[in-house]
């Protein structure tokens, strides 16, 4: 009896400290420790490469020359970042392009996706089946990049333009399906009530349906934003004039050297002076940091929506 009491006391203590429901069916302490060690190690594997890039970006060239890319540089330095601030007109331009493409692209994409998904969700719409089939077919078969490249540059005249960075990614059939499923869950009565009140299809959509679908739109908007921000491929494929590169493509072009960054600087005199002692190694890593920074800062906020979004995506009607 005494033992049971202490056991219960212990159990209560564990429950209090863990803030969890205590069930009999738990793994042993040892197993828990082992699992924790494995997960901690994998966490390090996830985080350390990024940390290395950050540390290198703050290392002096001299230190890199001596120790290579190291977690413990012999000398810290802000040279790489100062380099970008001084010769930064290309960086600012690229940032501007990426931000523009991300904002406009996401809004455009959300608008056409939401409207299309809503129309497809209406079973009383006459061409519902036809358009759904047309859309599903694009998920199964596509022209591939050669055909897209030739058509976009030769027929649509999108070569070297911002349109080439926005439109090809703007309609994702999978998101249409996810949103359509969401809209199908909205009772027909609501739409009919709006109609009886004299609202047209557009008014119904914008003032009744759209506000109801905010969570779904937020999730898809987040995915789309990240896709636009992270895109380097369209920039690499379509943008000819390097001055119009979005940041990710700019970073890619820097795999070999910072030459281009130096050349495209407006200030030629300063270029000559800086070219000699440009922080090439730390410079690349500094640019990498500047490119991922917005994603990293936003990550804690969007990651919980992301998990929700995944579970929404699993359901299809």
């Amino acid at each position: 009896m005494e033992m049971l009491k202490t056991k219960m006391k212990q159990a209560k203590m564990i429950k209090d400290s863990y803030g969890e429901e205590l069930s009999i069916n738990r793994i042993s302490k040892t197993t828990d420790v082992i699992l924790n060690i494995i997960f901690l190690l994998w966490s390090l594997v996830c985080v350390l490469p990024l940390l290395l890039v950050v540390v290198v970006s703050f290392s002096s060239e001299q230190s890199i020359f001596q120790n290579g890319y190291s977690f413990f540089p012999s000398e810290w330095s802000l040279d790489a970042y100062q380099f970008f601030f001084k010769l930064g007109d290309q960086l600012i331009r690229s940032y501007g392009i990426t931000i523009f493409v991300t904002v406009v692209g996401t809004l455009f994409s959300l608008a056409i996706t939401a409207m299309f998904a809503y129309v497809l969700s209406r079973s009383d719409y006459a061409y519902n089946r036809l358009f759904t089939l047309l859309m599903l077919f694009t998920m199964l078969f596509n022209g591939g990049i050669v055909a897209s490249y030739i058509v976009n540059t030769q027929m649509l005249g999108l070569g070297d333009s911002l349109g080439a960075l926005i439109f090809p990614m703007s309609l994702n059939a999978f998101y249409v399906i996810v949103l359509r499923t969401f809209y199908k869950g909205i009772p027909l009565e609501i739409i009919e009530a709006a109609r009886i009140d004299g609202a047209g299809e557009f008014k119904t959509f914008f003032s009744v349906i759209l506000p109801l679908s905010k969570p779904g739109l937020a999730t898809i908007g987040m995915f789309t934003t990240i896709a636009y921000w992270n895109d380097w491929f369209l920039g690499m494929l379509y943008i000819v004039d390097q001055k119009k590169y979005p940041v990710q493509t700019l970073l890619w072009s820097m795999q070999n050297s910072l030459e281009f960054m130096k050349q495209s600087s407006a200030n030629a005199l300063e270029y000559a002076e800086m070219a000699a002692n440009a922080p090439t190694d730390s410079g690349r890593m500094a640019l990498t940091v500047l490119v991922v920074l917005p994603i990293l800062l936003a990550y804690p906020f969007f990651q919980k929506y992301f998990v929700k979004g995944l579970t929404v995506g699993g359901v299809k009607g």
């Binding site: 290579g68 056409i112 599903l136 990710q248 795999q255």
Partner: protein, 317 residues
Amino acid sequence: MKPFAKPKSNGYNKQGFLKTFQKNLPLTIMALPALVVMFLFRYLPMSGLLLAFKRFSVPKGIFGSQWVAFKNFEFLFQTSDAWVITRNTILYNALFICMDLILAVAMAIGLNELLRKRRAKIYQTIFMAPYFLSWVVVSFMAFSLFSVDNGLFNHLLNYFGFSGVDWYSDPGKWPFILTFFQIWKTIGYSTVMYISTLTGISNDYYEAAVIDGATKWQQIRRITLPCLKPMMIVLTILAIGRIFYADFGLFFQLPRNSGPLYPVTQVVDTYVYRALKETGNVGMAAAASLYQSIVGFVLVVSANLVVRRIEPDSALF
């Protein structure tokens, strides 16, 4: 549940085409932007597939270029490239599918069993972070580890008295490096998919098992795994459906376009891109692209037919 029963009373079918069209006009207008984008960027490029049978010349355009029948395919399949890219694409993807399945399920079960749920959430957040980094960024992280002169690994090797490795020109290492980074980037995402299924398993099963004296291991084998089985099958089959499409960023960015590595890093997608942009052989690129589209189409459709038999809700069509 079908909230939208097709309203027969509207009698669209009995009326003429014009009347139906007029009645549906507002919704059609709403769908129009998406339809235009779909036509221009999904269907129009399909016409570019004709290029596989033509010798492309810019002034004549897609339709005016000269027909060469199957010449492009003859060239493609005469080289050893066709075999290499097919082998690489399929073997790498097969390996990724297996590794991802085993590791993601193991990780999901492990995270689900942790005594402190708060910790499981934190691990999950960290594991998912690499998913949001672009391949360009990841390639710079890898570079900070593998760089011949400055890389962390070579400096560690030197420190312990070994000679450095020329990572970017040693093909033997890349199957492992590519697989590692693929898993590193996507495992968190897959794990979340399985965790969302795990949390849906009713606790009653486990309670009943505990009463019958089942060990934790037995519970995992007899309850958890069978409950995860449908999800495992569906995700795997869908991945098999896309086995002929490689992750372009992984194979293009990570090896930093290093020629000596092509035998183990060239896949269909990178081959097509390089033929198009670097060697300028549009005909050959188009042939390889059509080859991919057709094989890809057959695989995706077959995979979906299989999924529809097992789990109709998860099939695309």
